[in-house]
């Protein structure tokens, strides 16, 4: 057999598995709409500096504050006369990168704990799970406040706070996945072939648990975007004046009656992003798990 | 054959999913006489369950679709019937026992309630006492103590569950019982118990039956007539004697018999049929069995064969001309 060819075949085939997923994903209209929407949003954020310089987002012009949308200010101006459009474009960077990073870090922390609990079982499992039960019965907001009060509201600390609030999901999820997968024959087959535990986790359990984890992670991103804005509402979010959607919303609150556009645009930004991420997550779930679709 | 209870003519069923169209059943005709048992044999995916579901019109709503043919039950075409009348037929006139007893009972209802439900559906205004009485009767009939009717399915073993399912199916004394591989999920000794019970009940109640199975042993024990199904077509049909003792056979039937390890004679190698069933989304032109057939001729790959009938025995194969002669496989079994 021509090995060079074989390897290329393998990679070709690997693609074809993701192609299969992609094909199923594409079938769901919602998912595609979500993907298109999110791509546009991400592109806008990526090229934020090209679209409108950052300095516009923080440039105050109090003489022209609280203007409605117009040609000069697409989305109007806020209470400092700053351009809302520029703030939304640049604010998304903070909002979305926090959401993504927090999701990743809670995923890592939670998955590690969950994998340990599920794989080793017994005492370790009970200790982790019981502690988690206790931890979960304390409201998230308390941890968030503690972190933000103690260390101040900034990017890193918000990350820590959001991670604390969201890692518990993953512990349960990954643990149950590991427990289910460890029962499967192919894991036993790997042991029958002499695989070590580490190898089994790395090459059989985690890759197979990935689908569920990815779906959950996607859906989590949108939850975190929302939670982040709630934190801003409670005064625990990103500090001013850096543009950030949640902060913009909470700033817009007092102008709800006089300048509703201040509320509308950041809210729309959040809704569109969270919604498209959700749509993608849902589509992914169906695509990764064909059983769910009849 | 005497009066027919079920007459399926040229039935075709497809499953239409977003991706593909599965031609599950392709123009089959089946006849079941009153009081008779027809065995429908075939491998996984041959379309047996699909046929059964079409009779009860229980094909999955969004995907399954009957594209042609008629299903006459006592002369009425079931496919034309309105939903209300169809409900009366289901469970009342035609009952079905599904393949897997583990999943065909509702886990959160007592078995008594589940049997009672079948009775209530078809006997309006029946009194509570009467229902209880009938439930007890049915359970006794299938050899389960009536006192266990308050138990839930998980408290029963597989064999008992299948008995419950059968009791449920027979609750309204249907004229036709469709049994879809009723014993595949069971152990040998339990399978024997259940098969005997079905046979005995059928004889006692005079029920006609469509017995779906892939086990020729079961057919030999329980059926009067046999239809062999392959890739959505009936490739051979006849009485049990035609199939087990007849001279001429479809190559697939022949292969099927050859594949079964025989208890009586120890051969070193089994006569397996090479290859696999064709993809139902992409059936071959010509004879569906041609790619696996050891007698395959040119014509087989191009022209779809026609049914050739002689008496009770019919075949779908180019090997045979008008009459059942020509190259043939020979006797099956003993």
């Amino acid at each position: 057999m021509n090995n060079a060819m074989k390897h290329s075949e393998i990679s070709f085939k690997k693609q074809s598995q993701s192609k299969e997923i992609w094909r199923r994903f594409k079938k769901s209209k919602g998912a595609v709409i979500g993907l298109v929407m999110l791509s546009i949003i991400l592109l806008i954020l990526l090229f934020a500096d090209v679209i409108v310089p950052y300095s516009i987002a923080t440039k105050q012009d109090l003489a022209n504050k609280l203007q409605g949308p117009s040609m000069t200010h697409l989305f109007g101006t806020d209470s400092y006369g700053r351009d809302v459009f520029a703030r939304i474009v640049h604010g998304g960077r903070t909002s979305i990168s926090i959401a993504i990073l927090a999701t990743i870090s809670s995923c890592i922390v939670g998955s590690a704990l969950g994998a340990i609990a599920g794989y080793f079982g017994g005492k370790i499992d009970s200790i982790i799970m019981r502690s988690l039960d206790i931890f979960m019965s304390v409201p998230d907001i308390l941890f968030t406040m503690a972190v933000v009060f103690a260390l101040g509201a900034n990017f890193t600390n918000l990350l820590v706070a959001l991670t604390l609030a969201y890692f518990t999901n993953y512990v349960r999820l990954v643990r149950s996945q590991v427990l289910n997968l460890a029962e499967l024959d192919y894991v036993e087959a790997a042991r029958a072939g002499g695989s070590s535990s580490a190898r089994i986790i790395a090459s059989h359990i985690l890759p197979n648990a990935m689908g569920v984890i990815i779906v959950n992670t996607t859906l989590n991103v949108s939850k975190i975007i929302l939670y982040e804005s709630t934190l801003s509402f409670l005064g625990l979010g990103m500090p001013p004046p850096a543009p950030e959607w949640g902060l913009m919303l909470s700033e817009a609150r007092e102008f709800m009656r006089t300048s509703p556009h201040l509320l509308f645009f950041p809210a729309m930004a959040i809704v569109l992003t969270a919604c498209s991420v959700n749509l993608i997550g849902d589509g992914l779930r169906d695509a990764l798990d064909p059983h769910l679709k009849s | 054959m005497n009066e027919l209870i079920l007459d399926i003519d040229n039935l075709s069923v497809i499953y239409k999913t977003d991706l593909e169209i599965v031609k599950a059943v392709n123009g089959i005709s089946l006849k079941i006489g009153k009081g008779k048992t027809l065995g429908l044999v075939g491998e996984t995916g041959a379309g047996k369950t699909t046929t059964a579901l079409s009779i009860l019109r229980l094909l999955p709503e969004n995907t399954g679709k009957v594209t042609s043919g008629s299903i006459k039950f006592e002369g009425d075409d079931l496919l034309d019937m309105d939903e209300h009348n169809m409900r009366q037929i289901r469970g009342g006139q035609i009952a079905m026992v599904f393949q897997d007893p583990m999943t065909s009972l509702n886990p959160v209802m007592t078995v008594g309630d589940q049997i009672a439900e079948a009775i209530i559906m078809h006997n309006e205004g029946i009194s509570k006492e009467e229902i209880e009485k009938r439930v007890d009767e049915k359970l006794t009939m299938v050899g389960i103590l009536p006192s266990r009717k308050i138990d839930y399915p998980h408290q029963f073993s597989g064999g008992m569950k299948q008995r419950v399912v059968i009791a449920m199916a027979l609750a309204c004394e249907p004229k036709l019982l469709i049994a879809d591989e009723p014993t595949t999920a069971l152990d040998v000794t339990i399978q024997a118990q259940v098969l005997m019970m079905i046979k005995e009940l059928r004889n006692r109640l005079g029920t006609s039956m469509l017995m779906i199975t892939h086990d020729l042993g079961v057919v030999a024990k329980t059926c009067d007539d046999v239809a062999v199904m392959y890739a959505g077509e009936i490739v051979e049909a006849g009485t049990v004697y035609d199939i087990f003792l007849g001279e001429n056979h479809h190559p697939y039937t022949e292969g099927l018999f050859g594949s079964i390890p025989n208890l009586a004679s120890r051969t070193k190698r089994l006569n397996s049929i090479p290859g696999l069933m064709p993809d139902p989304t992409n059936l071959p032109e010509g004879c569906v069995f041609a790619p696996r057939c050891k007698y395959c001729m040119d014509i087989c790959t191009k022209v779809h064969p026609n049914t050739i009938t002689e008496g009770t025995h019919s075949l779908l194969c180019h090997l045979f001309t008008d009459k059942l002669c020509g190259k043939a496989g020979g006797k099956n079994g003993k």
Binding site: K13, L184, E188, G193 | E43, G217, N271, S272
Partner: protein, 324 residues
């Protein structure tokens, strides 16, 4: 077969596996099995669902730790050997699983599944050799090479089971536990796989322990058959002997319960045994089959019958045959 001089390839002595259930009950899955498997033999293990067939197979492979008893491989005890040695042992003892669907990692291509064990044991120095060997194995089990990069879910059951077989063969084992390798397959495919297994046995000089509940299959393939009931061996004899001269009431009933595709026996009634397999949880002493046995007498209910050699190589565990 007179094998007294030869060391058995696999031997189990009073092998027991009890599962502790939630709440402390004990489930006697394997309850004192003595089994000798000589090189070149194919030992069939039959019995109803849940009687402990798979557990026995998996315990012999040390995929499950036995509760008590010993296992010998080639005369050496392997009951307690440590992880490192155990991994070495995996080269010699392999298993083919019942379900060709769940026993293959859906995320690995066929060639990777087959090559996995060789990578684990670093049989070959480089990937290319390993893949070449895997491709050879595909030839051996009759799997077209063009499937090398497919994923298991793209294939049918028969082909998948071939992957499982190729994987089991990849380390050149001497002994393979076949845990119902054909029961998930269609009759026509089943015959293909059985033929393949028998061919391989001959070609490679393999020894099988063939677990199944299908008696026609087991008769076809085995040289010796062990009949299990609730974790115990009730009868063990060479294949023909067992079919011609079943002695244990359970074996008799089992053989009678098989519906044969034979029209002449159409009107023969099955010999039915009453009741169903009882629970293996917290079993009390006494013959396990007593409750369903027509010949049950007082002694059966409280004393365990021993496995007696009633004739050469024919062992039965039943008081009816106890000469004392």
């Amino acid at each position: 077969m007179e094998n007294n001089k030869v060391t058995p390839l696999i031997e189990t002595v009073e092998l027991k596996k009890l599962f502790k259930l939630n709440g402390g009950a004990r489930l006697h899955a394997v309850d004192g099995i003595n089994l000798k498997i000589y090189p070149g033999e194919t030992v069939g293990v039959v019995g109803e669902s849940g009687c402990g067939k798979s557990t026995l197979g998996r315990t012999i492979l040390r995929l499950i730790e036995p509760t008590s008893g010993q296992i010998y491989y080639n005369g050496k005890e392997i009951t307690k050997i440590k992880a490192r040695k155990l991994r070495e042992l995996r080269k010699d003892i392999q298993i083919i699983f019942q379900d060709p669907y769940s026993s293959i990692d859906p995320r690995k291509s066929v060639i990777d599944v087959i090559a996995e064990y060789m990578f684990i044991h670093k049989v070959y120095k480089n990937r290319i050799d390993t893949y070449n060997r895997a491709a050879e194995l595909m030839d051996l089990v009759g799997l077209a090479r063009r499937y090398a990069n497919s994923y298991a879910h793209e294939l049918d059951g028969g082909r998948r089971q071939r992957i499982g077989i190729a994987r089991a063969l990849s380390l050149n084992p001497k002994f393979i536990v076949c845990d119902e390798p054909v029961s998930a397959l269609d009759v026509s495919i089943q015959a293909q796989i059985l033929n393949l297994l028998m061919d391989l046995e001959e070609e490679l000089g393999l020894t099988y322990m063939f677990v199944t509940h299908n008696l026609s299959v087991v008769k076809h393939i085995s040289t010796k058959i062990m009949v299990m009931y609730l974790g115990k061996c009730v009868e063990m004899a060479p294949s023909d002997e067992l079919f011609n001269n079943p002695l244990h009431p359970y074996t008799k009933a089992l053989l009678k319960a098989i519906p044969e595709p034979d029209i002449s026996k159409r009107d023969e009634e099955f010999t039915l045994i009453k009741g169903e397999v009882s629970s293996p949880i917290n079993v009390k002493p006494g013959c396990r089959f007593a409750k369903r046995c027509d010949y049950c007498f007082e002694r059966c209910t409280h004393e365990d019958p021993d496995l007696l050699e009633v004739s050469s190589d024919h062992f039965v565990s039943c008081f009816l045959l106890d000469k004392n």
